[in-house]
Amino acid sequence: MFVNQFLILAAVLFCIGVYGVIARKNAVLVLMSIELILNSVNINLLAFSMRNGSFDGHTFALYIIAIAAAEVGVGLAMVLLMYRNRRSIDLDELSEMKG
């Protein structure tokens, strides 16, 4: 196995996630795209962990999974709040921050 095959896979997933964040309007779908990005990072960490023969990457991958769970929890709570307030979860309409 090459080191690069995992890293390139992670890069592909990352870029698809980035595309999703940019292209999607629906807030839940944006959160899903962020999950793609986080997963690609995890693949990277574990690939390097295997390459270097240490287990540090495993620890960090576990921490990232925990952070992602927290992020989804808070993110969906925000989406719910947004839905309650404006009956829509389209990020387009959230442009009060227009500078």
Partner: protein, 170 residues
Amino acid sequence: MFASDVLVAQNIGFAIIATIMVVGALRVVTTSNVVHAALWLVVVLAGAAAQYILLAAEFVAITQVLVYIGAVMVLFLFGTMLTRARIGAESDLNNKNWFFGIPVAIALFVAMAMALDSGFGSQKMPADPAVATTQEISDQIFGPYLLPFWALSFVLLAAVVGAIVLARRD
């Protein structure tokens, strides 16, 4: 870059899983049905768990299944339903300017691919990698990485409190 051992079982496995993951990921960001997107995301996350096993990280793989496919996906489906998404296809899930995403993603990928190619070239993974047992990982977490673990516990606590504060009806 293609060496003689392309047909080793692991590599075949990797290729199949990777293809499924990429297709799944593409469907997540292109499908016009939110529930379908969530189900495709399950495919990608399961594929990632399989990749973790290939990378000799069993504990992480199991955690991935439990936390992501178990908990996070349920959260997503709840989120989808509580916001009354239409179960069928929707036409307006994308931005007006969705096409900006394509050049950005391609440019990012080119940059990363070039960096990876010059950085790791045809380096190989060790032939007989050490498998991280659960005990070793727990030694890591509760030994040298204890402090980040504590910090993480606080983050989770804050997230729980924050989610309740945000989502409850007053």
